[in-house]
Amino acid sequence: MPKQIHLAAHFPGVNNTTVWSDPRSGSHIEFSSFAHLAQTAERAKFDFLFLAEGLRLREQGGKIYDLDVVGRPDTFTVLAALAAVTDRLGLAGTINSTFNEPYEVARQFASLDHLSDGRAAWNVVTSWDAFTGENFRRGGFLPQEDRYERAKTFMRTTWELFDSWRGDEIVADQESGVFLADPDAGRFAHHDRHFDISGQFNVPRSPQGRPVIFQAGDSEEGREFAAASADAIFSRHGTLEDGQKFYADVKGRLARYGRIPDQLKILPAATFVLGDTDEDAAAIAREVRFQQVSGQTAIMFAEQLWNRDLSGYDPDGPLPEADPLPGENTISRGRASVRMYRDPLAVAAQWRALAAERNLSLREVVIEVTGRQTFIGSPATVAADINRLVQADASDGFILVPHITPGGLDEFADTVVPLLQERGVFRTEYEGTTLRSHLGLDPLPTPAANEKAVAS
């Protein structure tokens, strides 16, 4: 049997990939939009739906950034509601470890896993600044070197809480009157410099034991964290060569942790544009790129690199002559992507070279450098491209990011998925009920079963 593809749907986010100006664009807040995308994904037998999170509205130049979609609902609440309108689809969400406590997050994920009969997944992220911390009693700032350490400890602590119930405590024998087999069910104690907690966890073991764990960071620490602890990686490496390099690197790290390659799925985010023919799709893709990068958006992107106010520049004119301001990026806040510009002078030089070589305006340069869609073509072309990348070990599948809410996945579900199914590389029915099952991950052994295994 050929390698099977994993597919997921990303609810369109609060960035310029999402085209809100399109007449087909619906609400980003109303539940009906979430239900539509989830039900489309489930109809197409996708592995899961994914919701991102951001805990402070982004700002640029001291003002709330207003050119992209702004605002979103609470992740847990939407996922729990989606559990009522879907049966099999995995329900994944980003939850920040910086502005929460392990006991609360563990009970929320354990509850979601119960209420969805084993479909919960957690993308563990850590935050980086006091800017977001201003919304929380915990504040937020952590020195760079402490961030992964705390995030790792946070997640490990939630695992201790998930495992504090062995899975066989609830007897609920009406006749004898024994509800709980063990008065110490849920007992835990964790003491280190980040968390000093003890007591009893109050959510009994959930169907998956714990949520499926996602990791999204790309740094050395992030890759190591994923190799040690994650079930899936939400990566940025969606092209053949880049994807293969990343795939080999991360899967190569697993053995050190006693894990096999199948235990960690690599799922890059991917955008797509479909057309009746490849030429149609290419034309639509170009149009979408111009919608995604308006003149104003192009200026904002340039400001993020230049770290200066460029509001006086014409997006249809040349790039700024002055160099980017060195030092910490202060113009844009609440946005992870600015950290990508580790050497702004060098990036600006690349942009200038590109502009000179192809005679491009500022806006056209931004359109070029901020990336075309991952898959462009007729359904047959897109199905073939996806399959080629997966079979070549550039990924185990993709998290698809539609650019229209909520109908942006409909055409893909109707046209591309059947072609993948015909090739025998994508499921035609769900085999199991849990997200772990969809991802081809074995069920976690319960602590009760582990003890038995040790004893025998």
Binding site: L67, F76, Q108, L115, F136, R137, Q174
Partner: protein
């Protein structure tokens, strides 16, 4: 009329009754069924109990018991799970304000309001229990007993926790208003998705926390989802009078009810809210039966099974639906706006409420015979969509 949902029912032996479903308490199916039953009875709303520790029969401490229901799910998630499967029923989960983030709670309840299209509320609770604090490791409280309640240091601690609860509610409310209703403009000509003049920092600064805002979630359908609290003493009555939309109280009799209502109204007036509707509902634990003797016998049998007489902060009623209807009308005359019934056994007493009590009240012409399309606020007689505190006059 509302019902307080708790596990298999409020009596500790409820889970052993023949129709109880003790092995299903952690499933979406169970809670969906309970909500459907409440909706069948045309109830205003259900509350869902919650706590940050295992249930316990001891005051502010774990009890190590294994003969009662232990373990529960997060009530906000339960409410969200049942919202798409109900159409009219108000959904009021519990949030423990002492250990959680007002920013998270505000957007969660706002989202519940979106998911339920205008049926969300929240009950705020404080926690002074030392073992719950140890689950978070950020603060510690002394072990209290019921006898300590008049000790000045204890009163100060409890007072501070309720003051923090008031701040918490204030932050939730400001965050709900931090987006004006028409902040999302989608103006293609200027490329702007929102009008940033209509999205506001809340700049709350308090003793325990400061919150900048704005919320990440736009203003919910009701504008202000319904905030409620349970009170047994002056501290919580102050919180209800100052901050809540609905209060739950536990008077022993009509005279007690009148006194409590007067205290809440005074607190309300002191907070400058005298003109606002603020329904006060009395909590009652109910054992219902086809005749009074049968109801009492069931209560006795349950007590025998649990090994001791069931006691409660709320008045316990055992009798017929008709007798309960008499009692409710008598209590209502003391100034109460309605009731939050705690079914001793689920589903038995829940079904007795929806299938016997409700028809009895309908016959007497004091309860609705069908739902209309009201939001939870409207159903409770509150202003449909309160003015937004951040919108300049005339822009709301």
């Amino acid at each position: 009329m509302s019902v307080a949902l708790e596990g298999a029912g409020w009596h500790p032996a409820a889970w052993r009754e023949p129709r109880a479903r003790p092995a299903e308490l952690l499933t979406g199916r169970y809670w969906t069924d309970l909500a459907a039953e409440a909706e069948r009875g045309l109830l205003d709303f259900v509350t869902i109990e919650d706590g940050l520790s295992l249930q316990s029969s001891r005051y502010q401490a774990p009890d190590g018991r294994t003969d009662q229901v232990r373990g529960r799910l997060d009530s906000v998630l339960i409410a969200a799970r049942v919202a798409p499967r109900t159409r009219h029923l108000g959904l009021v989960p519990t949030v423990i304000v002492t250990h959680t983030e007002p920013f998270h709670a505000s957007k969660a309840i706002a989202t519940l309001d979106y998911v339920s299209t205008g049926r969300a509320g929240v009950r705020v609770r404080v926690s002074a229990a030392p073992h719950e604090a140890a689950h978070f490791g950020r603060r510690s409280f002394p072990q209290l007993s019921l006898a300590d309640r008049d000790n000045p240091a204890v009163r100060e601690l409890i007072g501070a926790l309720f003051a923090e609860a008031a701040d918490y509610v204030e932050v939730m409310r400001r965050l709900w208003d931090s987006w004006e209703d028409d902040a999302e403009i989608r103006d293609v000509s200027t490329g702007r998705f929102i009008d940033i003049e209509k999205v506001h920092y809340i700049d709350f600064v308090g003793e325990q926390f400061s919150v900048k805002g704005p919320s990440i979630t736009p203003r919910p359908p009701q504008g202000q989802p319904v905030v409620s609290a349970l009170g047994h003493a002056t501290g919580p009555y102050q919180l209800i009078g100052r901050s809540a939309d609905v209060g739950y109280v536990t008077p022993p009799d009509p005279a007690g009810a009148a006194a409590i209502v007067a205290e809440i109204r005074a607190a309300q007036a002191a907070a400058g809210r005298a003109e606002e509707p603020l329904p006060v509902l009395a909590d009652l634990v109910v054992f219902l039966g086809p005749d009074a003797a049968a109801a009492q016998a069931r209560r006795d049998r349950l007590d025998e099974r649990s090994g001791r007489e069931y006691t409660s902060d709320a008045r316990i009623f055992a009798g017929t639906a008709s007798q309960l209807a008499d009692l409710l009308l008598e209590w209502r005359a003391a100034g109460l706006s309605g009731f939050r019934l705690r079914p001793a056994v689920i589903p038995d007493d829940l079904e007795a409420i929806t299938r016997d009590l409700v028809p009895e009240l309908q016959r007497r012409g004091v309860f609705r015979t069908a739902y209309d399309d009201a939001t939870l606020r409207e159903r409770l007689g509150l202003v449909r969509r309160p003015a937004n505190r951040y919108a300049p006059a005339g822009r709301n």
